[in-house]
Symmetry: C2
Subunit: 198 residues, 2 copies
């Protein structure tokens, strides 16, 4: 029975290396070296790099969901403010990394969907799950008259998270908060503009 | 003196392989096999994979600029319609590929910026150049009273192209036009909404 600690060390190192070099660029040797675990033991824990990447992605999404809960579950804020709070929390995390690392879900969306059907399908499931609390929060904001109800909450949630991934993509090139700030500023004065007639 | 045709074959194959497997996943051997050119001749043409990727990226951006010119240079359309026309042209291209391939500029933005400073800097230059005609077209739409002038044309251009990259990212997971259509529909009824008071 392999030690759980080695398994966890592989996964933590996998996240770190895949954040830096992507799915293809993360060799098992690089991950093992980063983990400080013998390279040969990888196959005791994971049946393939693809299976390994699926677990790393799931761990990352579990982390993302905690950030979603922290922001969208904050009952002290109005629904529209909770959406802004999420972007603010993520921006703080990205700033702590010097705007060098982005979002593994976005990274994998561009890099792996053509080469791995299991990863593509898992990403589709992740987006579906990720969007739900946003759609619920947007529906609440619409019901409260805070934002326009021209579009369905599900469409607005998808627009928000997709466009936010686009802002993170630009951030990685610019290495600055400017694309994130620009997105928040424009989106919350247009698509998610606060309605005056409340 | 190496034959130019081999050089071009490497670059065309490089685009194809990098579209599918990304920068890290595109081995020189894979590219040579796709090009039908001896693997050993790569170094006659390119001093490194990074230098090669920079040339592939430049060729891709030249192609993108032609699409920009086609759409934003269409004097038969009003400025706001030209912006929509660009998204429509790109959507047609993405549809022709079965929504499997995205945009190499976006792919490289996520995958290469942490590992190659020359690629990151070139991407920053590309965005700056790519944004200019969009900012000019948006300024024209604002001057004509077609869209709101709350935000600077440069900020709106950046928002448009970044968010569009986010929509393409989602498209690659869903393998459908839905994320692209959703983006166009929402963005052109909100951020780029046609002003009624013209």
């Amino acid at each position: 029975m392999p030690k759980p600690s080695n398994r966890d060390a592989f996964k933590a190192a996998g996240l770190s290396v895949m954040f830096r070099r992507g799915y293809h660029g993360a060799g098992v040797r690089d991950v093992a070296a980063e983990a400080g675990v013998p390279h040969g033991s990888f196959t005791n824990h994971f049946r393939s790099k693809e299976a390994f990447a699926l677990e790393v992605l799931d761990d990352y999404f579990a982390h993302t969901r905690r950030l979603v809960d922290e922001a969208l579950g904050d009952a002290s804020l109005r629904p529209r403010e909770r959406l802004q709070r999420y972007l603010q929390i993520v921006t703080e995390r990205l700033a702590a990394d010097g705007f060098v690392r982005g979002c593994l879900i976005g990274d994998f969306s561009l890099e792996t969907t053509q080469v791995s059907e299991p990863l593509r399908q898992r990403l589709a499931e992740i987006y579906a799950e990720w969007l739900k609390p946003f759609a619920a929060c947007i529906a609440e904001a619409q019901a409260a008259g805070e934002i326009s109800d021209t579009f369905a909450p599900e469409d607005l949630a998808d627009f928000l998270l997709s466009s936010w991934e686009g802002a993170i993509l630009r951030m990685k090139v610019e290495r600055s908060a400017a694309p994130l700030d620009r997105f928040r500023r424009i989106a919350f004065e247009t698509v998610f503009r606060e309605r005056m007639e409340r």
